[in-house]
Every structure is written in C-alpha cells, then in structure tokens.
Amino acid sequence: MTLLLEMKNITKKYGDFTANHNINFDVRKGEIHALVGENGAGKTTLMRMLYGMEEPTSGSIMINGKEVHFHDPSEAIRQGIGMVHQHFMLFPSFTLAENIVIGGEPKRSGLFDRKAAADKVNELGQMYGMPVDPWRKAGDCPLGVQQRTEILKVLYQGADVIILDEPTGVLTPSEVKELLQSIKRLAAQGKSFILITHKLHEVMEAADRITVLRDGVITGHMESNTTDEEKISRLMVGRDLIPMSRVANEPGASVMHVQNVTLAGAKGAKPLLDNVTLTVRQGEIVGIAGISGNGQSELLQVISGLVQPDSGIVELNGKDVTGDSVRAIREQGMAHIPEDRYMWGASREATVLDNGLMGHQHQYKKGGLIQSHKLRKVVSGWVERFAIKTGSLDTQAQFLSGGNLQKLIAAREFAQNKPFLIAAEPTRGVDVGAMETIHGELLAKCKTGDGILLVSSELTEILKLSDRVLVMYEGAIAGELSAAEATEEQISLLMAGGKRQL
C-alpha cells in the first residue's frame, strides 16, 4: 500500500509543556489507522496540527511525498484532509444538504441552488452507502444521522484522509456497529481513516494499524492482528492495571428514593423521564449507565431540585423533597458533583475561593457576612489534599486546567459531608492521577455509610465503582444489574434499547 501522509519528528510545545515529542506517524491509502491513548496523551494536539488548527513547533508534514504547511483548516481541506470533530460542527437549523455542501455550494444564476445540493447529497449517500434525507433539519436528526452527515460533509469536500475524533462517544452500540462498517467499506473504496479513540474493542474490530500515545510520546506501534486489548492498554497506561479490590458493603436504609418520576418533553416529543423509580441506600454506589442524552441529566436535575417533575416523588433521608428548592434539598442532605463543570459547576470569572464557597455559603455565614478567614483555611486544605494546581486562592477559575477545576469541585462537594452524593461524570477530562484520587474518595465515602449515585458515560468507571448498575434508555430505566452480573456486553445491550430485564 502506498504512503499517503507522513508526519515526521513532530514536536509541539506550549511554553514549558511538551504536548507532543518527536512523533512519527503515517497513513497509507485505504487503511484505518487507530490512534489511541488516555485523555491528555496528546492525540488531539497531533490531529489539530494535521488539520491546520495548530502549527508544530518542529517537524514536518508530508502529503504524497511533498512537504506541506497548513495555517488554517481550509488549507488542510484543500489537500484532502477532513476531520469529524468530537463535538459535531453542524448548524442545527439548516437542512442536512445545506450542512453537507456548505463551503462548496452549487449555484444557479448567482443564487444558492438547494435542489442541486439535495441531488448531490443523495448521489453521495448512494455512492458510499450512507443515505440521509437531505431536506431534514440537522437539529431534528438522531446523533447517528448527524455523524453520518459529518462524514458525508468531509467526503463532499473531497477528503482522502478522514480524521474521526472519538466518533463513538455519543452513539448507541448499534449505531457504533453501523459506523464501523461504513468506514471499513469506505476504506475498501480507497479512503483512509485516522480513528482517535480510547475504546479498545472498537480499535480491535476496525483498525488495520494501531499507534499508542502516552504523555506526548509514542509508546507502541503495531499491526492490529499481532496484538490484543491487554497489550494496548498496558502501553496506554504504562503499567499493568490493578483490578480494584472492591469489598461490597452491606447496604443499609434508603438515603434517596425516586418514585415514578415523569418529566414531559417538548410538545409532541417523548417524555424526557418516563416513570423512573430507583433507590440509593446507605453504603452503596449505584451506577447509572447509558448513552448521554437518554434522560440522565434530567434525572439529576429533578433529584437536585433544579427541575420540577410532572409527576412522581423524590425522597431524601426519608423526607419527601419533591418541589423543594435546591437549597432546601442540599440542606436535607445532598451534595452534587455536576456533569458539566463549566456550565453548572463553576464560575470562570470567580476566584478559586468563591468557587469553593458555592453550596457552603450558608454554613460560613455569620451576621449575614462570609467568614472568609475560616473559609480560606478550609479551601487551602482542599488544595493541599487534592493537589490542586493553582496560583493562589484568588486566582480566577478560568486559569485552572480542566482537571484541577474538577478536583476543586469534587473537593467542595466531598466537604459537604452529606449522606447522599450525586457524582455525575466525576472524572471527565482529568488525568489518571486525579481520576484515582477521586475514585478513592468516592469509595471511602461509600465505606462510611453514605450513598452515592454515579452517572458516567465511561463504562469502565461504572463497572469499577458500582455495587449496582442501572441502565437508562430513552428516559426510562431499561434494566438493573448487580455488580456480579454486570458486564460490558450486558450493559451495552441495555444501552442500545435491547431487551428489558427488570
């Protein structure tokens, strides 16, 4: 097979920090090359350079043997490189056809010829076996269709090398299967793919070659038929994974109970929450798995009092808290690590100290004023214990890295010391060390007899920590599995809306 693209001795530095060190990476025509590594290993940085969003500090990029320099994505696009971003780059109010042809719109007598665009999209869909309805609005389509639209868009742009950045994170297992088949078929037709992921079974299923990154350097490079998942994960993490020895506690009385909670959706749409019932007891971690967007966020908002359910009740420590304010519910015994740290969990403009105060503000109140001396001491304690890297307590939160901010938020909520904790995506985007700290804290809290509701889109996290696993699908609980019976396959099946086994 011919070499299509080559990245030679690429190094990228941000100040003192080396994101990529002396990386060699190449792609052949018609192959699927997987780039794997943990969060923060430098995969995205490498691809951003290939796509013209960043420029390398040193090293060169060659396409068909010729050296190229990209200053912005449109130059990369012209050279036949396309990228499907992790967060889709679609225009929700535009039709699929408009989304696909944008940047190369067909014209007739000076005007945008939407009919021709739709025809082209149909033609393209047929050619590559990925049909879409060109006249539908992108915002109304399921995520699988949106993904297909993204791929059709880069194909329309004439891409030969397509970068897929974590393409399966938001898809159901059946959509994942379909996607992997599609890219294999496209590869057979001569297109090349770079598949960025940390899901190893997908890599094993689809990839021809695999490159592993850790801390900005390549730790392994192999043909997929000469390796296995365990070997790759060792290269990714740098050591053998120690299976967490999880001694299950004997669960006690219920700390949080949700009974038949229903939340209506927009007019005509399915309900966001459909008759959900669940219990978290003392000393147990209940995991909620599911593709994001299946009602997990809404469930947490109902439990924490941010949204009122249309019917059903929420009990906390034996008291009905349905319809109570967020503050009342927190005081009744709830702490909450929110799913999106920038939207819900912090204020970027506020200082570390102010961010640490949220939720505690009535505990540090004396005569209406904040006891800032006491607060300072407590927050510095968190900074030390969780090794939060910050200039000072008066640094604005926006200058903290994502992982450090997440640690601050987690510390704040652990410090609430409440009998019930919601931990939503508690380790999203944090490094391995921080993840272990947070996981350790969760398990320790559970050991003291508190109940934890863990929501995560990472199956490994769910499997590692939970005593019981509930799977949500389309706003309902699709099934419940004990720690003993929960396997990745079982959960995946339920996540995709497979058989209910209540």
């Binding site: 967020v326 912090a346 949220m358 503000q361 109140k365 004023l369």
Partner: protein
C-alpha cells in the same frame, strides 16, 4: 497573580482610559483652535479650583453616585438595568408630593419623603424585573422604555394636577417645598447637602454587601454564571427582587435627594435632562461595577461636567467637550472586558 498585582492591574486600565479620554478631548479642543493646556487648566479650576467649586462638584456627584451604585448592583447580578433615569424621576416626584402634602414635623416629613422616594423608585425598577422573571421580557429594553413612560407621566403630573399656580405660569413644576423639609446643607452658603453623605455611606455599605455578605456573594455568582448559581441553591427570583428593588431604590434616593436638597420642588425635565441617570451608568461601567470605584468615578464625571462649565465661562470651548471625553472614556473601559480575553488567550498559548 497576587492580589496586590491584580488590584493594581485593575486600576491601571481606568487610568489608561482617562488618558485616552483626555486625549480625545484634546483633539476636539485643537480642532476648535484653542489651547489644550489652558482649557484643561480651566477645567481643573472649574471642578476643584476653590472650595466653592469643589462643593459644587460634589453636589453634582451625589445623584450620579447614587444612581451608579444602583446600576452597579444590578449589573453584578447580571441584570442590565438601564432604567435609572425613570426610577430617579419617579422617586423625585414621589418625594416632592410627600414633602408637599404630608403633615408633621419637618425632620419626620423629610425622612418619610426620602423613604417614599426610594420605595417608588424601587417598585418601578422591580416592575421591570417582574416582567422579566414572569414573562421573559428583556430587561434592558423594558427599563429603557419605562424611562420614557416615567418621564412623560411625571411631566403630566406637574403640568396638570400638581402644577404650581402661584409663580410664573409657564413653568411645569410643583410649588416650593417648605424650608423645614429641605435636606440640610453641609456648609453654609454652599450647595453641598446631606445627600452627599448618604451617597458615600451607601457606597461603603454596598461595597461591604457585595464583597463580604452571603447575599452579595450569591448576587455576584448569579451575574457570573446563572447555571452555577442555580446549582448551588441561589434563588434567582429572590435575588432579582433584592437587586432590582435596591437598584431602583438608590436611583429613587438620588431623585429624592435632588428634589429635597437642591431644587426644593419637582421641576419637569430637571432630573432627566441633566443626565444624572446616564452619568451614573457611565460611572458604573468605568468602575466595572465596584461600588467604591463607582463613587470615585462619579466624582470624576461630575468634575468633568462642572469643570466644563468653567471652561465654557472662561474660554471659547463649549461645555459639551465634557460629553466627548466621557463617552470616549466609557467606550475604552468597555473594551477592557476584551483585554481580559486577550490576556486569557495569551496565557493559554
């Protein structure tokens, strides 16, 4: 960055803005063919040149500071309250009516009039907040429109039912308020009245409230990120009532103070046309909603305005040169929100 360094940095930008503002004024003066140095010297004299001028400046600063403080609190909570002019007008009118028609000892009527002025200003402001919370009506626009409605309503009141029939019939104004109800002057023969003390006390109180109190903390977080505030148990509705009511009350106090301390009657257009409300908003923008900074900026803007009167008296330059300086100043301060962004991007790289 250390605290000290950050505070210095925060101070640096308004100073740069002031320099740019004065530069813009200098260009205007040169275009008119006058001497920049002479003009600015006259401006300094007009504002601070003697004790008389200084007290004049502080008198003018009083309503600017009060309305500015009100707006600062609303801005901190994330509410673009542009209605200080209307709130001030209604507060002044209400205070005038109370002072004219409420029987009782002078000091008591004075206190009640101030309180009524604050209450009416606060309620008018809260009305806009209510429409926002309940019906999703854009607060920025509704407060702007309410300004016109308030001014026209007050104009009607003094043109018809409350009109002073005794004096010159041409003026739309209420009768003169009894001397016993006037806000006391601080120095005999000078215009400065006790309202200035109220303004300074309000600035300090508001600073402590915003920076040190729990409710102030909740208001700041609400303004920064409403999702975060909701998540942490901050009740937006309650904070809106607190912020808008206080904001309007301060503007109402500004109006009442002008009526009871300076004009001693409600004169149609006197409060609106002096642009106290807008100067207050400028002061807030200049100080990026810091109450103490707002007080300083209020005095600065008042000094520009009284200084410009001195300029007009003694040179060929018209007093409107002050509006140019003020506006350019505010524009550059508003660009400061941008500097922070550029800085953030640099630190990332």
């Amino acid at each position: 960055m250390t605290r000290l360094k950050r505070n210095l940095f925060a101070l640096l930008q308004p100073i740069i803005a002031v320099i740019i503002g004065l530069l813009a004024g200098a260009i205007a003066i040169v275009l008119l063919g006058d001497s920049v140095i002479d003009t600015y010297a006259e401006m300094w004299n007009g504002a601070f040149g003697s004790f008389y001028f200084l007290t004049n400046t502080l008198t003018r600063a009083t309503p600017i500071i009060l309305t500015g403080l009100g707006v600062a609190l609303a801005f901190r909570a994330g509410f673009f309250n542009m209605g200080s002019t209307g709130q001030m007008v209604l507060g002044g009118l209400a205070a005038a009516i109370t002072a004219l028609y409420l029987p009782g000892p002078g000091w008591m009527v004075l206190v009640v009039s101030l309180v009524v002025g604050m209450a009416i200003g606060g309620l008018w402001s809260l009305f806009a907040g209510y429409m926002d919370a309940k019906f999703g009506i854009n607060l920025l626009i509704s407060t702007l429109l309410l300004n016109y409605i308030a001014s026209l309503f007050a104009g009607y009141m003094v043109a018809f039912p409350l009109k002073d029939q005794s004096g010159s019939a041409a003026m739309a104004q209420t009768p003169m308020i009894d001397k016993s109800i006037w806000l006391p002057k601080l120095f005999s023969g000078m215009s400065l009245h006790a309202g200035f003390i109220l303004a300074i006390v309000a600035a300090i109180a508001l600073y402590i409230f915003i920076q040190k109190s729990v409710s102030g903390y909740e208001i700041r977080m609400l303004g920064n990120n409403p999702f975060f505030a909701a998540y942490g148990g901050v009740k937006r509705g309650r904070m809106m009532v607190v912020a808008m009511l206080t904001s309007g009350a301060l503007a109402g106090l500004a109006g009442a103070g002008e009526v009871l301390g300076t004009q001693h009657r409600y004169l149609d257009g006197a409060l609106a046309s002096a642009d106290y409300g807008w100067s207050g908003i400028m002061a807030t923008l200049l100080a990026s909603s810091n109450p103490l900074g707002t007080a300083v900026a209020g005095i600065l803007l008042a000094a520009l305005q009284t200084g410009a009167m001195g300029v007009e008296r003694n040179t060929n330059v018209p007093l409107e040169v002050a509006s140019v300086i003020q506006a350019v100043l505010t524009l550059f301060v508003s660009a400061r929100f941008g500097y922070a962004f550029l800085k953030r991007r640099k630190e990332k790289k």
